[in-house]
Structure formats: C-alpha cells, structure tokens
Amino acid sequence: MYTNRAAGLAYVSPFLIGLALFLLFPFLASLGLSFTDYRLQDRWSDAHFVGASNYVEMLADVTFRKSLWTTLVYVLLTVPLKLAFALFIAFVLNFKLRGINFFRTAYYLPSILGGSVAIAVVWRYVYAGDGLINQALTLAGFATVNWLGDPSTALLTIILLRLWQFGSAMVVFLAGLQGIPQDLYEAAKLDGAGPWRTFSRVTLPLLTPVVFFNFIMQSVQAFQEFNGPYVVTGGGPIKSTYLLPLMIYEEAFKYFEVGYASAISWFLFVLIGVITAIAFRSQRYWVFYAQDRERAP
C-alpha cells in the first residue's frame, strides 16, 4: 500500500535487529561452539578449535544414543496419537450438538495450562507411588504400578501428559472441519455415500492441509520437550526419559560441556530440519489444496 520503503524498513527494523542479534547470531555461534572444547566457566581465550571431535564423541556416546532413541520413540508415539485423538474429538464435536462450546472449553483448558510447571508437579503426584492413579487402581482391585520408578512406564507418563493436551490441535481441526463447504456433503449424500465414505473421501482430503499444519507444529514441539522430563521424572529412572533437550541442558549447565552440548543441539536442529523438509516435500502426495484443483486445466 505505502511506497515509502524507508518507512517500511523502519517498521520492520525491530525484527531485523532481533533476527540478527537474538536468532541468527546465536544460531551460527552454536555451530561455531560445537567445534570447540569451550567449557562454561572458561575464559574465552582458553577455548580451542577441536574439529569435529565433539560430533565423533557424540555418535559413540551411549548416553546420547539412548537419549536419541528415547526422543524418537517419544515423538513417534506422542504426535500421531495426539493428532488422531484431536481429530476424533473435533469430529464428534463438529456435529451440531448443544453445549459444544462447553466441551470445547473443557478440552482446550489442559493445552493452555499444560506447559506450566504446576501441571508437571501435579502430574508427578498423580503418577506417584501413592498418587491418584495408584489409589484408583487399588480401589478397582488392580495391583499398583510404579509409574515413575519403572523404566518401562516412566516415558509413558510424559506421553500421557502431552496427549492430555490435545486441545490446541483439536481447536485447529474443528476450525478446519467447519470450513468444509456443506454442499460437498450434500453432493456426497446424493451420490449415496455412507458416513465412512463421506469421511474418507470428502472430510479427510479437505482436512489434509490442517493435518499437515498440526503435524509440523506438534512434531517441532515434541522434539523440544523439556519441562515434562525435567520436572516429572528428572530424566530417569536409568535415563529412560532423558530426552535430547534435557541432555543438552545438563551437558551445558550441569557438566559445563558447552562445546559438546552445542554439537548435540545442532544434531537435534538438523534432525528436526530434515523431518520438516521431508514433510513439506511430501505435501504434493497427500495434502490437498482446493486452489490446485481450480488451477488445473
């Protein structure tokens, strides 16, 4: 609208400064640090260039390998389950039910509060030895489970904590569902399509852009999970919930291995980048954009 370029630049200048100072510079600095042996309390003059040795050490490090594996398991379980659950509930809520706003609020509330430490604290008590879940199990006549102390169930409590917060994905799905034109459903009905066919041939294809959006956002978020393992399980027992962000934090700020932690953080960045790039590339095989159809000859 306005042609005054100088004024336009002035308006976006906070972002340009912020981008350079707080994003691009740290981004490149962490790459640089990953090739040094810098330790947190060292003077800068004590840092040495060590080539790729941090990366070599990382790939051989049993703790890192386990942490990477745990992170992948965590993301691969949390994201699909969360999306499926969010889509299912959004689908049910999309019927013209009375009180839909009430349910939407109730289901959305955990997502809004979920990042809070207070919730992680409550979660720890819910799954504790004499906590809510075990008391309920006892009442129902089942044996109690050492949720947080057993390496095979500890990660599950973190996954459940994040599944519990399906609300934000659900709200996005709900908006997507409400954006599907009614006449398409009527046309499907006229053509004799049953509920399942209508869902798989009309609803789902038109919803793929929203599925894609939710998948990207939830994956990027899941790869950065920190509060859950830090507060609920402390990364244990025997590192069974030691996700990569927690490992980066501890390497840098507990063991002061800044160079090593930077190498891990760059590994995580590349991992997320590759997955995001594959997802963006794969769009043309499964994501349906309405304007493509209109543009096609």
């Binding site: 306005y2 430490v117 996005v172 954006g179 953080s265």
Partner: protein, 300 residues
C-alpha cells in the same frame, strides 16, 4: 371393518422403521454426549483433584481419591504460601508479574509495528524476510539457548529479568507477528488510503485506524504471551540464580524437591494458586484464544 383391518398392519409396518429412526436420532447424540462427558470428566479430574487436595489435610490426600474434603482446611494454603524458603509466595508472584507484564507489553508493541511494515509496505526482500519470520516459528529454541546464555552473561544480565523480556522488544517470536499480519490482511486498506490522502502520516494511520480494527488480534497476542510467559520455566531456570528473583514456576520446582514425601497439600495448594491467573484469564477471554489459534493456522 374392512377398511380398518388392512390398515392396522400398515400402521405397524410404518411404525417400526419410524421408531428405529427415532432411536437412531436419539441414540447418536446420547452416545456422543456420554463419550464427551466421560472423557471431559476424566480429563479435568487431575485438575479437580489438585484443587480438592489443596483444601484437604495431608493424610486425606493419601486415603481416598474423592474430591470433597472430609475435613476442609486452609492449612495447606497457609503453610504453602510461607514456603520452606526465606521468601513467601507473594515475592514469587510479584517476580512473575515483573517478568510477564513488560514481556507482554513489549511483544504487543513490537509485533504490531513489524506486522504493519510487512502487511502494508513494499519492502526490498519482503518475501525472504517474511519467510525468515515463519522459519523462526519452526526453529528449535534449544539450538539458540547456549549462545544466548553466553551473550547475556557477557552483558552482565545474569540473575536479572532482562534476558527474559528484552528479546520480546525485537519481535523475536514470529508467531505473533504472523498472527497480526494475517489479521491486517483480512481488511482492505481503503480506509487507510483515505486517511493518507487526508494528510495522515503512517504512524497516525496505524494508531488511529489500524489499531482499533485489529484489536481482537492484539488481545490474542497479549493473552497468548501472558499464558506462555506465566508458564515459562526454562528461561528463569537458566537466567535466575538467587531465590529472591525466582518466579512461581521455579518456586514450585524447589517446593517439590524439598517437601517431596511430606506436604502434598501445600504443593497442591501452591500449584492451584499458580494456575489461578491463567485459568481466570482463559475463562474470561477464551474466544480470543480460539480465534488466535485458528487465525494462525487455517487461514494461513
């Protein structure tokens, strides 16, 4: 007689499918409501249990999963508020707000200014810059954490609130800028053009015409940033070292480390109070949250 006789089976035959259809129309919603209510109850139970636990004597938390306290007491609240540290929760609450309030204000101002630049001006390299803005949303923060920490250390900002809110003055959270840009673009610029012809400069246009129109987006930004910075844990954990500077999130973490085995009611009481501002804000303004989420995704 002859007329009635054949009509009876007809009525019967018609009735059967009618009642079946009625059953189906009633059963569908009934089933859906049952699922929705059961699930909602299950989901909100931990929160209700937390609130109930805050008002129970400690032994009662371990002796039953019911919600109604048998012997309601505010002992947990009173003791929890005092904490095992030399400070009370009033210090932690005031620290929280001394971080959150400047952060929200700076975020709103910087996001609106930058969004106005992107939405209404022809900039050199605009597509690239906007692409970078979107990329910041997807950039994992853990890759920036260590150098940012070292940077603020060199500036002498450790153990102050500055590292927690100063970056917000520079529109570093692309999500908010994106949200405001999307909202601005949904309005045609005719009004603004008319104001320019009448001799308004761009800042006057922004303040008098754009800001009132995009108020819903501004409220969404403020609310999301309020929630997110109330919940922020890693930032304070990194930058604040003296207990006197701790916000609620860190205070809660030390309270479980100290009173782990014993005073659950105190911890649950403080967790409840910690969530109270967010819950209140959410209930009064949930429309803006839902608008914000959908604006940032579906229309984008």
């Amino acid at each position: 007689m002859r007329v009635v006789a054949p009509s009876a089976p007809v009525v019967l035959r018609e009735r059967a499918p009618a009642s079946l259809a009625r059953l189906r129309t009633h059963l569908g919603p009934a089933l859906r409501y049952s699922v929705l209510i059961a699930l909602g109850f299950l989901m909100l139970y931990p929160l209700l249990w937390m609130i109930a636990g805050a008002l129970k004597p400690n032994h009662e938390i371990f002796s039953g999963i019911g919600l109604i306290p048998q012997a309601p007491t505010v002992e947990g609240v009173a003791k929890g508020w005092k904490t095992s540290t030399e400070y009370t929760f009033s210090t932690y609450f005031s620290n929280t707000f001394r971080i959150v309030v400047p952060k929200v204000i700076l975020t709103v101002i910087s996001s609106v200014l930058v969004a106005f630049g992107f939405a209404r001006f022809h900039l050199p390299g605009r597509r690239l810059l906007f692409g970078l803005l979107i990329a910041t949303v997807l950039l994992p923060k853990s890759v920036l954490l260590i150098p940012q920490y070292l940077m603020f250390r060199e500036l002498g900002w450790l153990d102050t609130f500055l590292p927690l809110y100063v970056p917000s003055a520079f529109a570093t959270e692309g999500f908010f800028v994106f949200l405001v840009v999307q909202f601005m673009r949904s309005f045609p610029p005719e009004m603004e053009e008319a104001a320019v012809i009448d001799g308004c400069n761009s800042l006057q246009v922004l303040w008098h015409i754009v800001v009132p129109v995009i108020m819903p987006a501004i409220i969404s930004v403020a609310l999301f940033q309020f929630m997110w910075s109330m919940n922020d844990f890693l930032g304070p954990l990194l930058y604040l070292s003296s207990v006197g500077n701790y916000p609620i999130s860190l205070a809660l973490k030390i309270s479980i480390d100290v009173t782990e085995a014993t005073a659950w009611n105190e911890v649950l009481a403080m967790s409840t109070l910690a969530l109270l501002p967010s819950v209140l804000v959410f209930f009064f303004a949930q429309r803006y949250f839902i608008e914000g989420v959908t604006l940032g995704s579906v229309k984008g």
